[in-house]
């Protein structure tokens, strides 16, 4: 399991990278591995949409299951990685770089403190089996 140490993680398996006030959001390597081959992604939000922590941002469907991606932060959508709609398997191949989903301008940076660091997330994932 690949868990970069410069990211924060949510219990629902999203990762967040904060640069200034801009959060980049995706799903973790653990999540993509559990889902196995991803075949569809549907984005629920557009650029300039307001989002609250916990909102369902996207639905990802694999050959095994479908699941929601929940926003780990609140703020405004700056960019959607819409190219993934044609090649959703990018999330399997490269979950932390090319497989990012949203860039969000965060309204409350303190929400980041509620997320797990890499070590805590790894421990959390191990405890799920």
């Amino acid at each position: 399991m690949n868990t970069p140490s410069n990211l924060k993680y949510a219990k629902t398996d999203e990762w967040v990278k904060l640069d200034g006030s801009i959060a980049t959001i995706g799903v973790s390597d653990y999540a993509q591995d559990q889902l196995s081959d991803i075949v569809f992604i549907e984005f629920n939000r557009e650029t300039d949409d307001k989002v609250s922590k916990g909102d369902a941002l996207a639905t990802i469907e694999s050959v095994k299951a479908a699941g929601d991606v929940n926003s780990p932060v609140s703020g405004k959508v700056l960019e959607v990685n819409e190219g993934l709609s044609d090649i959703p398997e990018t999330i399997n191949d490269d979950p932390y770089e090319k497989g990012w989903l949203y860039k969000i301008e965060v309204s409350d940076p303190s929400e980041m403190d509620e997320l797990m660091d890499a070590a805590a997330y790894e421990k959390y994932c191990e405890g799920r089996h």
């Binding site: 081959d37 075949v39 469907e61 050959v63 299951a65 089996h129």
Partner: protein, 486 residues
């Protein structure tokens, strides 16, 4: 694929039927209806018979072998069901006939309504829904109509445990509710404390599958129902797993308000590609007025000279018609046949043997597979198809390998709360010999997973086609082999 399509078998000019010689002047089709090309396949009757016979021989069915597909109750469908469903009196009626001419068919529907009410402990029922998920939608619409009739418009939340069928949250969304997940506790029951936290005055109801998809009977079912009722919500029972309860307990007596019944699972009518399904919805007395319109009832009571007159009655606050005519009538005949054949003792024996068979398999297989919720199961149980010391082997590989042993795979990757789930439901119609053959195969596969994992990765080896490309199947849909642009 070993069988070509009808288009590939087509030979120009070949026909299956020769029409009689034309003895009247021909009448030309209007130009507007003419087209240059219509690539229909051209085959003889024998070509067609062989083609579909070959396809049927490639198919796997309950008539061909063991089919432990969890939550689907793939029991044997007794042939007597087919005999009664094909009786001319049932086969040749039309739903628009005057009721005086179809009294026999109406009696069948009335009797099935009455027997299902008796079996489940509910007060009223509709036979209209076309299948289980359709029944869920009808039940959810009844839930909505009930709250609206009381002017209670703020109830928009439906609770769905994480051990429920996947259709439950989908159905409540479709009916306009917001589904909210309730977690399970360590024993696989609804987490009572979490349930209490979620119950407030926006609660429309709870959709509870009991036994749940882990094959476990909720040990606090009465408390769960009471908590929801106290908050003003209704309790919907997903009756997909009713086979485990027949003649033992009645959901209506437990306090459920609404439940659908899968005739095609519990009452031995064809499914798994051979349907159609049928999903009657039963309700408690306070919801009877909301049932879909119409239901079968007695219009005139019997007299000394005449039998009762059966016909259609109209629930006063009905959610409306939800199916053309009166549901899948041929399935209704089959289900009633099965129930009459079993009788009360037979139905109870069905549940007892279904539970016994599942526990027998569970005890033998938990020696070789992880059983995450280890307590007596009902009609099915869920194993993990993965081992820490068999790297790279997944539930899907186990399922595919089972096909090489001549058996249908269990349901896999469901329920979601079990890692690499293999959900196994043997049903009551299998003998101990069949169960033992299955156990042998599963134990061999567990051994192979450790010693020869490539056998699993490349499975199935002995089927007409090998491992399917599931990604391509999901992404690259080609639903018609003839495309106009080609």
């Amino acid at each position: 694929m070993t069988e070509p399509t009808v288009y590939e078998l087509s030979s120009p000019g070949r026909v299956g039927i020769e029409y009689a010689h034309l003895d009247v002047p021909p009448s030309e089709l209007p130009d507007a209806f003419m087209r240059e090309e219509l690539p229909l396949p051209e085959l003889s009757e024998l070509d067609v018979v062989r083609h579909f016979t070959h396809l049927s021989q490639l198919n796997y069915s309950i008539d061909g072998g063991f089919y432990p597909l969890g939550s689907c109750t793939m029991k044997y469908n007794p042939r007597i069901n087919e005999v009664t469903a094909r009786m001319p009196g049932f086969l040749k009626v039309h739903p628009l006939q005057p009721i005086e001419t179809v009294q026999g068919s109406l009696v069948v529907m009335y009797l099935l309504q009455e027997t299902l009410k008796e079996i489940t402990g509910f007060s009223a029922i509709t036979l209209q829904p076309a299948a289980g998920a359709h029944g869920e939608l009808v039940g959810s619409l009844i839930m909505r109509a009930y709250h609206r009739s009381r002017g209670d418009m703020k109830r928009t939340k439906v609770l769905v445990p994480d051990s429920a069928h996947g259709t439950n949250p989908a159905t409540s969304s479709m009916a306009g509710f917001t589904p909210v997940n309730v977690p399970s506790d360590a024993r696989g029951n609804v987490d009572i404390e979490k349930l209490r936290e979620l119950c407030d005055d926006t609660l429309a109801g709870l959709m509870l599958t009991n036994p749940n998809t882990l094959g476990l009977f909720d040990e606090h079912v009465l408390e769960v129902i009471d908590i929801v009722h106290q908050a003003g919500g209704l309790v919907y029972g997903d009756g997909a797993n009713l086979n485990a309860l027949l003649g033992v307990t009645r959901p209506g007596d437990l306090g459920f308000d609404i439940m659908h019944i899968n005739l095609h699972k519990t009452f031995s009518t064809p499914h798994g590609g051979g349907g159609p399904g049928s999903g009657p919805v039963a309700v408690a007395a306070h919801l009877a007025d909301f049932l879909p319109d119409p239901v079968v009832g007695i219009l005139e009571e019997a007299t000394d000279e005449l039998p009762p007159l059966y016909g259609f009655v109209h629930p006063p606050q009905s959610i409306g018609r939800i199916k053309s005519f009166h549901g899948h009538f041929g399935i209704i005949v089959r289900a009633l046949t099965y129930i009459m054949m079993q009788g009360p003792e037979g139905l109870r024996a069905v549940a007892e043997h279904a539970v016994l068979n599942a526990n027998y398999l569970m005890e033998l297989l938990k020696q070789d597979y992880t059983l995450p919720y280890d307590r007596d199961c009902m009609h099915e149980f869920v194993l993990e198809g993965v081992w820490p010391d068999a790297e790279g082997v997944h539930a899907l590989d186990v399922a595919k390998r089972l096909m090489d042993y001549g058996m249908h795979p269990p349901t896999n990757y469901f329920p979601l709360i079990v890692n690499e789930a293999l959900m196994i439901e043997p049903t009551e119609t299998e003998s101990k010999q069949t169960l033992d053959v299955f156990v042998d195969a599963m134990k061999k596969i567990a051994k192979e997973a450790h010693e020869q994992p490539e056998l699993l990765h490349e499975a199935p080896h002995n089927t007409p086609i090998g491992r399917l490309d599931e990604v391509k199947a999901a992404k690259d849909l080609v639903l018609c082999c003839w495309r106009p642009e080609e």
